[in-house]
Structure formats: structure tokens, C-alpha cells
């Protein structure tokens, strides 16, 4: 809770923290109400408790799982996959977006293909990837990278295109070289859109990580496999716990991203 408030204050340095914590508190109303409702319907036996299991049972499974070192190994595997896919995908995305943004020729040559291929649902790539690369780490990595690539490339492209003629003229007056144009003008000017693309890319990468663990399942280790195992054993408690853990990691990533973003973009001043 205090962490969340800190992040918000990074973005809004002038806001009184009292008002903010009040707003943060309101965000918890809905989840808590749902939790109470969940507890109520299961405790009263209004639903089939084999399908909608009581929250206390989920908590029990959570405690057992959280004391198992294999769980943490799974989290590490998933996070490792996620971050390596994100790394390669965002690197390629920034390069591709910059190329399409600065070069009219590249935009004409590659742009239409890129925008068409983008229409193919990411999960539709999986049969092809698994046929070519099998069910191992490599096809997961390629899938996660591909998922990250699109939002990052699009964000970068938009950012690069947002460079104004006025600033480009300043660069010409000071005789910037091509490299200086890129490193001192184009990329810094594009940071807000690149940051948006990266934040979105991080979400996509995590979705793709879990997706690849579901759909390219080779009984490997990973957070997604916990849910698969739960389903195989018809262990609803384990499925729900796995979902919560997946969501938790996603929220954690997003908080870090927001924090890095607001630090990198502090030159824009407080946003209202």
C-alpha cells in the first residue's frame, strides 16, 4: 500500500499525500466486496463448492504452495523467460520502430508488411513456431519476443515521427551529425512514446510467457504450468492460486515500469 502511494507521488509531486491515500483506498473496495461475496456464497452453500471453492481452501493451498521451493523455481523460470523475451523483443522493436520512423524508404518497403502481419493474432503464431522450433525454450522465447516487438515498434515509430521540424532545425544549426541527430534529438524526443510502448510490451510479454507455458507445455517448470497441473488434477484451489500469483507478478512488473517511466520522463513535469 505504501509503495503504491510512493509511485503515485513520483508522478504527482505536488499533490498532498492525504488525498492520494484516500483515492488508493477506494481501489480496494471492489476486490474486498467480491472477496466477501465469495466467502458468503461458499459458506452458505449457495453454489457448488466443488467448482466455486471456498476462499479458505485457496488460502490453505496457497500456504502449502508458498512453502514449496519448487514454486519459487517456477516463478524464477517464468520471470526469466519473460525478461529475456522482453529484452530481445523490445530491442528489436526500438530498432524497427526507429528505422520505420526515420527512413521513408524503409517505411514504404517494410511498413505495409509490418502492419499486415501485425493483424495476425499472436497466438496464431504458436502452431507455426512449435512446428519449426518444437515445444522448448527457443520457441517460447521467440513467441514472447514477437509479442513484445509490436507495441514497442509502434510506440517507437510514433515517437520518432513526433520530432518537430523546429527542433530538427536547431540540430541543423548546431551541425549535429547523423548519430547525434539520433542520440541527442530523435530518441530523447521519442522517449514518452517508447516508454508507453515498453510498458505495454511488458504486459504483452507476461501474457505471452504464461500463454506459451500453457500452449507450448512440455511439462516444464513455470508459473503457467502450476495452473495446468491444477487443471489436470481438477484442483480448482491450485488454479485460482496460480491465477493470483500470475496477476501478482504482472502487477509487480507494472509498478516497476511505472516507476522507471516517471523517472525517465521527469523532464515533462507533473502531469495533471
Amino acid at each position: 500500500m505504501s509503495k503504491l502511494t510512493d509511485i503515485q507521488q513520483d508522478g504527482l509531486p505536488n499533490s498532498p499525500s492525504g488525498a492520494l491515500s484516500k483515492i488508493q483506498w477506494r481501489g480496494w473496495v471492489l476486490p474486498l466486496a467480491l472477496l466477501v461475496l465469495w466467502w458468503l456464497v461458499t459458506a452458505q452453500g449457495w453454489v457448488n463448492t466443488r467448482l466455486i471453492v471456498p476462499p479458505a481452501n485457496v488460502l490453505k493451498v496457497a500456504v502449502t504452495t508458498l512453502s514449496d521451493p519448487l514454486f519459487y523455481q517456477g516463478v524464477l523460470f517464468s520471470v526469466g523467460r519473460d525478461l529475456s523475451g522482453f529484452f530481445f523483443g523490445s530491442l528489436a522493436g526500438v530498432l524497427l520502430g526507429t528505422l520505420l520512423g526515420v527512413s521513408r524508404l524503409a517505411d514504404r518497403l517494410i511498413g505495409p508488411t509490418f502492419h499486415t502481419v501485425r493483424q495476425i493474432s499472436l497466438f496464431a503464431w504458436l502452431p507455426l513456431l512449435s512446428s519449426w522450433l518444437g515445444y522448448g525454450e527457443l520457441s517460447k522465447l521467440v513467441f514472447i519476443s514477437l509479442s513484445t516487438l509490436y507495441p514497442v515498434a509502434l510506440g517507437t515509430f510514433e515517437g520518432v515521427r513526433s520530432v518537430t521540424k523546429a527542433h530538427a532545425e536547431v540540430a541543423r544549426v548546431f551541425r549535429f551529425s547523423r548519430m547525434q541527430m539520433l542520440s541527442r534529438l530523435i530518441l530523447p524526443a521519442a522517449t514518452p512514446q517508447i516508454a508507453t510502448g515498453l510498458t505495454l510490451g511488458l504486459v504483452y510479454a507476461w501474457v505471452a510467457t504464461i500463454g506459451s507455458e500453457f500452449l507450448l507445455a512440455n511439462w516444464g517448470n513455470g508459473l503457467g504450468n502450476i495452473v495446468i497441473k491444477g487443471r489436470a488434477a481438477f484442483n480448482i484451489e491450485l488454479i485460482i492460486f496460480g491465477m493470483l500469483a500470475i496477476g501478482g507478478v504482472g502487477v509487480f512488473f507494472n509498478r516497476i515500469a511505472v516507476r522507471i517511466e516517471s523517472r525517465a520522463l521527469r523532464w515533462r513535469g507533473p502531469r495533471v
Binding site: 527542433h167 536547431v170 544549426v173 548546431f174 547525434q180 541527442r184 521527469r266 523532464w267 513535469g269
Partner: protein, 269 residues
């Protein structure tokens, strides 16, 4: 102190291509500017005064005639020529210090020497203490001061000013005019100011070049033989202002202005 440049403009003409047709922007401009001179250029919008500055700075390169700086033909931009635009055009992701430092990015000299120079120029424009501020934290007047420091930091031989105070409020504007005069005297470089403010032109200039539009030509050059700092309320000062304003009020000019209104689409130069 920087070396001040002589600027020779001879028979300069320029056209824009609009829908396949040639549209004359500047017609046969001849003007000689002495080292260390302050020249004001006034004219109504569309008279090509900003285009003239863009040619001198080297952002536009299609023209006929000659522009020489110290005897060398101007080709492209150069660190010898600085410019302050109407909008400050600071890079919002850089601090005041880093923005001023952009002017020295491709200049020769040691890093330590550059740092000293940046600091000196921040002090020159009166922004000591704001080195680490970002542009969003500055007022319009302060931003324009940074832009002036950025243009001066590599000690150009000539500084071009394209309506630099046009977007500022009257109080800030008159204060910055005084500051600019002080800087000009201190640095001793050649300055060319484009403005539509006749008072500003008369307050700062050794000479006022009056331009007329369609196509842009020099109509008259008015000398300002008044000692500095000038008293804007004095009879001599207002006489010069009236001499310049008189150039705008004749009949042919009024006719031209009505044409301007009809052709507003192409008059946005």
C-alpha cells in the same frame, strides 16, 4: 571577445515553388552589414524578412545572388552563425545547462573549457541558479534567455534574431530588449534582428531596414544616430519611429495589404 563578422548580401532573390508556379519571396536584396553592427529589419508579414534570416543562417539554400560572411559564400549552417527563433525551441528533456551545452556539442575545445563557457553564458543571460531546471519550469522570458545563451555559447560572429520577443508580454519584452543591448555591447558581435515591432527596431538598431512585401524588397534604410541607452520617449526617438511607420502607411501599401488578406494561404511565410 568573439570576432565580429562582415555580412555582404548582393542581388539576393528567392522563389518558392507553389503548385508548379514560381512565387517570388525575395527580390534583389542588397545589404552590407559592418562588423559589430546591430541591424533591425522590419516589415509586415509576408515581406520575406524571416526567409532572409533563414538564408543567412543556412537553413534554406535555394537562392540567386550572393551572401558572403567575411568574404566566404554561405553554404549550409555553421557554428559561426547563431540564431534565436521566435519560439525558444529548447529541448524539453534537457536542463538549462544541457540545452546551452548543445551549442558546444560540435565546437572544438576541452570539456572543462566548455563547462566554463556554458556557465559564463548562463550568467550572461541572468539565469545563474537555474542550471538544473527543465524548460517546463521556466517562464517564456526565461526560456528565451536560455535560447540566447545557447546561440551565443560558441561565440558566433553573427547572431540572427527572428522576432525573439514576439511571443512575450510587454514588460518582459522591454526588459529583454535592454538585456540584449547589454549583451550586444559586451560581446561586440554583429546582430541582425527581424521584428514587426518598430519601437523594438528603433531601440536596438544602428540601422533599420524597412522591407515591403510581394515580392520582399528593401524599401528604405533608416539610420538611428542616437546614443545608447535610448530614451523611448524622447522626440528624436519618436521621430525615427514615425519615419519608419510612415513607410507602411502609403496608399500602395494599403492596397497590398488587401491583396495579402485574399491570399492569406500563401502569405504565411
Amino acid at each position: 571577445m568573439a570576432h565580429a563578422a562582415t555580412l555582404e548580401i548582393a542581388n539576393l532573390s528567392m522563389q518558392y515553388q507553389v503548385e508548379g508556379k514560381k512565387l517570388p519571396v525575395l527580390d534583389n536584396i542588397t545589404l552590407s552589414i559592418k562588423p559589430g553592427e546591430f541591424v533591425s529589419i522590419v516589415g509586415s508579414s509576408g515581406c520575406g524578412k524571416s526567409t532572409l534570416l533563414r538564408l543567412i543562417i543556412g537553413l534554406e539554400n535555394e537562392y540567386q545572388g550572393d551572401i558572403f560572411l567575411d568574404g566566404n559564400r554561405i553554404v549550409g549552417t555553421s557554428l559561426e552563425r547563431g540564431i534565436v527563433f521566435q519560439e525558444h525551441r529548447l529541448f524539453p528533456w534537457l536542463t538549462v545547462e544541457q540545452n546551452v551545452g548543445l551549442g558546444l556539442l560540435n565546437a572544438s575545445g576541452s570539456e572543462a573549457g566548455k563547462r566554463t563557457s556554458v556557465q559564463e553564458h548562463i550568467e550572461l543571460v541572468g539565469l545563474k541558479g537555474f542550471e538544473n531546471a527543465y524548460p517546463y519550469q521556466l517562464s517564456g522570458g526565461m526560456s528565451q534567455r536560455v535560447a540566447i545563451a545557447r546561440a551565443l555559447v560558441n561565440r558566433p560572429e553573427v547572431l540572427l534574431l527572428d522576432e525573439p520577443f514576439g511571443a512575450l508580454d510587454a514588460l518582459t519584452r522591454s526588459h529583454l530588449q535592454q538585456e540584449l543591448q547589454r549583451i550586444w555591447e559586451q560581446e561586440g558581435i554583429t546582430m541582425i534582428l527581424v521584428t514587426h515591432d518598430v519601437e523594438e527596431a528603433a531601440y536596438l538598431g544602428d540601422r533599420i531596414v524597412v522591407m515591403q512585401p510581394r515580392p520582399g524588397r528593401i524599401k528604405r534604410i533608416v539610420d538611428v544616430p542616437l546614443a545608447r541607452p535610448r530614451d523611448r520617449a524622447s522626440a528624436d526617438f519618436t521621430a525615427i519611429e514615425e519615419a519608419v511607420l510612415g513607410e507602411f502607411s502609403d496608399k500602395s501599401q494599403v492596397e497590398l495589404l488587401s491583396v495579402t488578406a485574399q491570399q492569406s494561404r500563401v502569405s504565411d511565410w
